[in-house]
């Protein structure tokens, strides 16, 4: 099988003058795909900026010492933040990733230019419609828009237009891999990165179909055509959109890990069959995790909850643990192959931490695995969930999966997308090198504050936990307030990291030095092979460091799992 990125000659199915050879990788770049990758990436960054400004306002409101916004604007900005961050930014970037993986890595043209136009237009129009309705005060219904909360019909219509546009983009990707196979533009199986992108696309189809099933009747209800939407039915079906869309992110993020491993240190997947098998487990089982959101819903029984959040879903957790091992192990093998064989972690110390593509990707891996993975499995356990449901522990969890994991991985990839696809170089490279650390550090601190505040019982989505002016004195003790302060400080740092990213990318894309016709400037110098490097080839294929990291991970998981069961036992006292 091919590795993640193999050098291919230009013998694909590209029409003349619609392809160029990448000056750095020699990969053939379909110019039509390149145009749409650029457009989707630019729009994605704009939505990231909108969502990031919203994040700052929200954090400064949930931080009781600041409490910036009034109640109306808090819920308005919360709606704006959720949709721009979780849907518009990520979905736009993912369509760009699909077009890249489908065309460049398979040496083929994009299946349909017109479908790409329609996709881009509908996604942009739908997203802008939604943002306008929110900022106009016509859709203060939060991202979930649970009925019977009702927004203006334009809000639901905007989401439907966005979803249909994205679905067209996904099918354009699937059509692209079809014509690549038909025209024999590659040999054997598709590269692993394309396989991962295909898994993301498949999950996206199921996600967007659920979106259509729930949003079209809700839109009709908002216009008075339908008299009632059952709230329980809405919640089950909406989470088929809301949670499944986050599984698209997981697949795209893992694919980007493999891609960046190759681009930064020349890593190759340890075992193609195992890695692909893990993606198949995602395709088959990861979407069942949507049931996590309904663990305290009375309408669905324990059998449904336990099957969908435990037995079957753990097969998807297994997939994440496989990737969590094979990705760092592939880095270790690549670094040991370069002679960094000293001790358990000599390979990790010598890794190119000054390369933002590497540091962003590896931090994303650590934050997602240790933060998001462990908390996700524990919070998704039915019994433990009863303590954590609707507390700040839940956003504490998903900010280290979707933001510390997916968004940081997307940011890391951008440090290669701009020079390779936009053919521009970055300014202020010291800031570029710092940016992943600022953003990753900030988001981790914020999530820690959120999670521990949630452990004190602080609710999520709540404007004023002190119930100021209420008949009775309520509120949380000093520990909870300290954690909310930590959350606020972390959020400010993360937003600084986000603004650094936006400024650096905008400066490079619109004003950066053109580098067309030349290889991209390397982000790091290849270190010389150590003089004491082990020459025994078998030493270079061992992964003791990754094995130790995996054991540390499992130990952390066991401690956190045990602690949560202890807390659950403390909820009631038996004498």
């Amino acid at each position: 099988m091919a590795s993640a990125v193999d050098s291919l000659p230009i013998v694909g199915n590209h029409p003349q003058a619609e392809v160029r050879s990448c000056d750095t990788t020699s990969l053939p770049v379909c110019l039509t795909a390149q145009q749409f990758i650029r457009w989707h990436a630019v729009v994605a960054v704009v939505f990231l900026l909108i969502g990031g400004i919203g994040a700052l306002l929200l954090a400064l409101t949930r931080w009781p010492a600041v409490h910036l916004l009034d109640a109306e604007w808090y819920y308005r900005i919360l709606t704006l933040h959720g949709l721009n961050m979780l849907i518009f930014w990520i979905l736009s970037f993912e369509i760009a990733v699909l077009y890249f993986a489908g065309t460049v890595l398979l040496n083929t043209r994009l299946a349909s230019k017109w479908a790409a136009y329609v996709c881009f237009g509908m996604m942009l129009v739908g997203s802008v419609m939604v943002d306008i309705t929110i900022m106009g005060g016509k859709a203060d219904v939060l991202m979930t828009s649970y009925v019977p909360l009702m927004a203006t019909p334009w809000f639901y219509l905007g989401i439907i237009i966005l979803a249909v546009g994205a679905l067209i983009g996904v099918f354009n990707f699937l059509a692209t891999i079809y014509i690549a196979k038909r025209d024999h533009t590659y040999e054997g199986s598709v590269p692993l990165v394309v396989f991962g992108a295909t898994a993301a696309a498949i999950i996206a189809v199921g996600t967007l179909l659920h979106g259509a099933v729930v949003m079209i009747p809700t839109w009709l209800w908002s216009m008075g055509v339908i008299s009632e939407i059952d709230p329980s039915w809405y919640r089950i079906t909406w989470w088929g959109l809301g949670h499944m869309s986050q599984q698209v992110n997981v697949c795209a993020m893992v694919s980007i890990w493999y891609l960046l491993g190759t681009l930064t240190v020349g890593a190759k997947p340890l075992n193609q069959a195992v890695c692909r098998g893990a993606f198949v487990l995602y395709i088959l089982f990861i979407n069942l995790a949507s049931a996590h959101h309904l663990l305290v819903d009375p309408g669905v029984g324990a059998g449904w909850k336990i099957w969908n959040t435990s037995y079957a879903m753990y097969l998807a957790v297994l997939a994440s643990m496989i990737h969590g091992f094979t990705v760092p192990a592939s880095i270790e093998v690549a670094m040991r192959g370069k002679g960094f064989t000293r001790g358990m972690f000599g390979w990790l110390a010598a890794a190119p931490w000054s390369n933002p593509g590497f540091s962003g990707f590896f931090l994303s891996l650590i934050i997602f695995g240790f933060g998001g993975g462990i908390t996700g499995v524990v919070l998704g356990t039915q019994q433990i969930n009863i303590m954590a449901h609707n507390t700040l522990r839940i956003p504490g969890h998903f900010h280290v999966t979707v933001v510390g994991g997916t968004t940081l991985a997307f940011m890391a990839l951008t440090y290669y997308v701009v020079p390779l696809i936009f053919q521009r170089d970055f300014y202020a490279k010291t800031l570029c090198r710092l940016q992943p650390y600022v953003f990753g550090g900030g988001i981790t601190l914020m999530a820690v504050g959120m999670s521990f505040a949630g452990s004190y019982g602080v609710p999520r989505r709540h404007w004023d936990i002190e119930f100021t002016g209420g008949q009775f004195a309520v509120g949380f003790d000093a520990g909870a307030h300290a954690m909310l302060g930590i959350m606020g400080v972390g959020a400010v740092i993360a937003v600084i990291g986000l603004l650094m990213y936006v400024l650096l990318v905008v400066a490079a894309v619109f004003f950066g030095p053109r580098i067309a016709g030349q290889a991209m400037p390397p982000w790091h110098e290849e270190p010389a092979r150590p003089a004491d490097a082990v020459t025994d080839q078998s030493e270079e294929h061992k992964t003791p460091g990754t094995l130790v990291l995996a054991i540390v991970f499992l130990a952390a998981f066991a401690v956190y799992y045990f602690a949560n069961w202890m807390w659950l036992a403390d909820v009631w006292e038996v004498r």
Binding site: I202, V205, G277, V280, L284, F285, L294, G299, V300, N308
Partner: protein, 51 residues
Amino acid sequence: MATRDPNGKHPIQKLMDNPWLLLVLGIVIPTVSYTIWGWIELWLVPTATLP
């Protein structure tokens, strides 16, 4: 035990090389296990009676 076809491809490899079959499975399994089963559970909830 799985057998290879004359071209030497393992059945699991054939599955992984078939995005259309994966697409069908990837939609059917969660739709049946999560969505339809969930709808049936709601449908079977008895109507509440007034006290």
